[in-house]
């Protein structure tokens, strides 16, 4: 077992894709770097924190992007975002079997302010265009950073979301929630709580992700392979069905959570999950079996 979380972006690419098949665009040697960071006293990265290119996955052609969480928390800046958009636009031309997004990001790179915000919104638009053109987009979430902020929204715009239980998916980060609503509402240092509310197991049980895997590169690879060529129709009907689901789900907590009970465990119980209180201690295989259709 090779920990997906421990790997760098490039190590993930090397191990996930068919050996030696990754051909990189805008490689580090081309030095397409951020025009903004130097004036803030922050060093650049040769690839601005994301590697993009074409590769083979089990013999199928995929276009792939891997974000490097160790650089600026994986934050999306102008160049980083443009590389993602470029990759997605290329996908509409080339029509690969899938686009693979190895997400590892805190969201918008705040250092680049509006340029980062615009970049992320352009990524969303391009991603939806790719889906509409008939190419499925699969996002893999399994880093220690998780997938937050604008990238969290991007992730949910994909056809398929694959998460490990180490991975986290959300919009607002735990510290932000604590700062806005107080520590009694959300204690960001209670990491078990953070994972109960944003981690892979929770997302699996609440149907916010489509596959839950072990923290293992091979597991991510195998799951991605099964999802190639599997499209999710993206129509007005599916959007409305999604909204109906969300409304129904939001009413699950209309009835107050009993004093002293945990919100997440209560929610899972109301979703029909058996043994909700034991989810934290169960392994991935056991939690997978708990999801009710």
């Amino acid at each position: 077992m090779i920990s997906y979380a421990e790997c760098s972006a490039r190590e993930r690419l090397a191990r996930l894709l068919d050996a030696g098949s990754f051909h990189e665009w805008l490689a580090p040697t081309e030095r397409v770097t951020s025009p903004h960071l130097a004036q803030l006293g922050v060093p650049c990265a040769f690839d601005d924190g994301v590697a993009i290119g074409r590769a083979q996955l089990n013999g199928c052609t995929v276009l792939v992007a891997a974000q490097e969480g160790a650089f600026m928390g994986g934050g999306v800046g102008e160049v980083h975002g443009a590389k993602l958009v470029g990759l997605l636009q290329r996908a509409m031309k080339e029509r690969p079997d899938a686009v693979l997004l190895l997400a590892d990001s805190g969201g918008v790179r705040l250092h680049e302010a509006n340029a980062g915000l615009i970049a992320v919104s352009e990524v969303m638009r391009a991603l939806l265009d790719v889906r509409a053109s008939g190419v499925p987009v699969i996002v893999l979430i399994g880093s220690a950073n998780g997938c937050f902020g604008g990238m969290g929204i991007v992730a949910r715009c994909c056809d398929h979301v694959v998460m490990s239980d180490i991975g986290r998916l959300a919009m607002s980060g735990p510290e932000v929630i604590e700062a806005s609503h107080g520590v009694d509402e959300f204690d960001a240092r209670d990491r078990a709580l953070v994972w109960r509310t944003t981690g892979g197991k929770h997302r699996w049980l609440s149907s916010d992700c489509d596959a839950l895997v072990e923290d293992d590169v091979e597991a991510f690879r195998e799951t991605a392979i099964t999802l190639i060529g599997v499209r999710r129709p993206f129509t007005l009907d599916t959007l409305q069905a999604e909204h109906a689901l969300l409304v129904k789900r939001s009413h699950l907590l209309d009835e107050a959570v009993p004093e002293g009970a945990d919100d997440a465990i209560t929610l899972w119980g109301r979703l029909g999950v058996a043994q909700a209180a034991r989810v934290n201690d169960m392994d991935v295989q056991a939690v997978r079996a708990l999801r009710t259709p």
Binding site: P28, Q39, G41, V42, P43, F46
Partner: protein
């Protein structure tokens, strides 16, 4: 020389002793706190040229000592090293340099 108020840029050039046949560029490391990325590329010169951009300002003499020792060890000619550094200690810098060398050697023997 400074690119801006924040980043310090340093350049070093040494006369190489061992010419390196052309190779595909080598990248090691990541620009994270206490870390650095290092890009090793083939060059037509007879030198070993090193360009450093760092957010940890004021340590030129230490960079000089570390890189001089690296050059004494390997004496490469015809290479360009580019470094983006975010406050790595000499221990980490030396480690990345050796990792880059190992990658370079493994490529030239395959």
């Amino acid at each position: 020389m400074s690119l801006s108020l924040g980043i310090e840029a340093l350049d070093f050039s040494y006369n190489g002793r061992h010419p390196v046949p052309a190779f595909t560029p080598v990248l090691v490391g990541v620009v994270g706190s206490g870390n650095l990325e290092l890009l090793l590329e083939s060059d037509t010169s007879s030198k070993c040229q090193i360009h450093v951009e760092t957010s940890a300002r004021g340590f030129e003499s230490i960079w000089s000592a570390v890189l001089m020792d690296f050059h004494r060890r390997h004496g490469l000619a015809g290479v360009r090293l580019s470094i983006h550094d975010m406050g790595a200690t000499p221990a980490v810098v030396s480690l990345r340099l050796e990792q880059a060398m190992a990658e370079l050697i493994s490529r030239s023997t395959t």
